[in-house]
Symmetry: C2
Subunit: 358 residues, 2 copies
């Protein structure tokens, strides 16, 4: 089975019974930031409406249809599995839709932990129609960490957070956009399945064997030469997340950042699914900076908040409170645009740090 | 290919050109602490001598021979690959010896990242002779972390360290021995390849996909019922290790320990292979305790030092200095026996901690 096409994709996105919900965040991210075209979304619950009708902040009038068979009318050449449930297993009800796509010759792109190309039914269908299956979580390279990341030329900025799914990928993409507009040569380093679908490359760090996770991140950071002067690395998880903190630490030590941006969603009151506390800004900043201090120091340059749960007045007040608590630039980069936040941290985006030596 | 036998093993240990060196630490660990018999060691460099001749602290007069063919004289039923190089790849020169063992019907037990059963030549040889290949790094279970580890009944003690290979496994085994002698019902939880070979079970956390590493550790901690009142979890790496700290954090959050023992080798001046600093006792203690404080708090109960690089007078002085710096029980559990250190921390080995709630 072919593992990835190089052609420009025209996606149908599979998100049955969930396109309106946060569990379709992969679908939303690809529509909002991806370079590939999205021609249809499959979700019987909202069939007949458009993407914008259902998720108002997505600027797309792609139709929502009931099935992959219906989506074929819009001439997709790829099907994107638009969800990534905890554990990454494939919902059983989706099998027939994926088989229909493969039988119709569509490339299938999946970010699940479950490897679709390893499934006998899918592999056979793909083989018969010469369709590709791109399991984006299969890592492209898994060397051990060498320390080469400590001396890369571009400034390395890493987004970190208070929990999973608070907006680290979005903030990273907004910062790349703002930096490019100001004349920098930024590159987005994708480290999770949605980011990889958007960027067209990257390594899903959560699917790398633990011993090799720092090395996998390093391999992405060291793969960029003189065409780039700013690497914005998509963060994952959170340093106090009971289940996924090790992935976070792989990014911290593997990317060897020169600076951090802390991301938090004000709607989040406890760590989702576990009930442990969301730490204060100051405690989070101290936790991230203290761990990096013994290897290659990096400071938190600013805080990017998701204020979408608040009205504008409360959002502005929350931003001001975070500024007062930390003395750092704080903003909601989606609600108010990334420009002024980027300008506030930009002067520091050339001050590389050095690894610690005895 | 069969993946593991249940019979009592009589090991030949493969450690060519390295049995005397630290890179044979897997071999040394299995000889020192394993329940299986070791009938011969393969290392042409020391052929004709005994284990004790070459590594004086190993209490074994097993012969050292030149080849697997020579080892067959001593009737082994299994070959243990006695090394675990960084990255875990198989030295090319060892292939023929492993093939000889499989052809002779010996079970082959390997802790390498490289999976021997996936190698066509090895698989075919094993199939022909009905030999088993036990790749101990293949995890037996990889669920996601659920939080069940927070409420297990046994006291959970985790060894943590200043670097890799400072003695965490040895200290864990010595503590289990001391606890059993004092009437506790302890269990050693093996988390690395050597520990698994010693215990006959366990999960090599460094070979688990990052997202599942905490869950894999949790699955070991929750698998013990009323027959056990103390789980001693073998630590890995170090929280400030540039490459392997994420594995360390997987153990910290996955095992959800009630207490920690900090392990350090006084010969170690920088993090091996990377040159970043070994942190002070106080900084290490603060780093470990601070990370756990936001999820399920645990304190460092004492410090276990490897003083083998020092004469006895200097060792005693170093132990006293560590006591003075930290106010904790400190000892070298191998040099001076685990008894008095165990007695010093024993009163705390029933005070379970609770997860943090808002």
């Amino acid at each position: 089975v072919k593992s990835q096409t190089t052609k420009k994709r025209r996606y149908a996105i599979l998100a049955p019974e969930c396109f309106a919900s946060r569990s379709a965040k992969t679908a939303h991210g690809v529509i909002a930031y991806g370079h590939d075209e999205v021609v249809a979304v499959v979700d019987p619950q909202h069939a007949g409406r458009t993407v914008r009708d259902v998720v108002s902040y997505l600027d797309s009038d792609a139709p929502i249809v009931s099935s992959v068979a219906d989506a074929l009318t819009y001439k997709p050449n790829a099907l994107l599995v638009g969800t990534a449930p905890p554990g990454g297993a494939l919902p059983a009800a989706w099998r027939d839709e994926i088989l229909m796509a493969l039988t119709s010759g569509l490339e299938v792109v999946s970010g699940l932990h479950e490897i679709l190309a390893d499934d006998g039914d899918f592999a056979e269908a793909a083989w018969r129609s010469d369709a590709a299956i791109w399991d984006v979580r299969i890592p492209t390279a898994t060397p051990l960490f060498s320390g080469k990341a400590w001396t890369v030329k571009p400034y390395v900025l890493l987004t970190v957070g208070s929990d999973c799914a608070v907006g680290k990928m979005t903030v990273s993409l907004e910062l790349v956009r703002a930096a490019a507009e100001k004349g920098r040569l930024p590159e987005f380093i994708a480290t999770g399945q949605t980011g990889i679908m958007i960027a067209g490359r990257g390594i899903a760090v959560d699917h790398v064997l633990s011993d090799f996770a720092t090395g996998a991140v390093e391999s992405m950071v060291t793969a960029h030469g003189s065409a780039t002067d700013l690497l914005v690395v998509e963060g994952q998880g959170g340093i106090n997340h009971p289940a996924y903190a090790p992935v976070t630490l792989s990014l911290m030590f593997g990317a060897a950042p020169d600076g951090l941006v802390l991301v938090h969603d004000l709607a989040r009151k406890v760590v989702e699914g576990y009930g442990t506390p969301i730490l204060s800004y100051r405690t989070l900043i101290r936790s991230y900076e203290a761990l990096l201090a013994s290897v290659k120091p990096a400071r938190v340059l600013g805080i990017a908040l998701n204020t979408s749960s608040l009205n504008e007045e409360d959002a502005v007040a929350a931003i001001a409170a975070a500024r007062a608590e930390t003395g750092l630039p704080v903003d909601d980069l989606v609600r108010f645009g990334p420009g002024s936040f980027y300008d506030a941290i930009a002067p520091q985006l050339s001050e590389k740090t050095l690894p610690v030596r005895e």
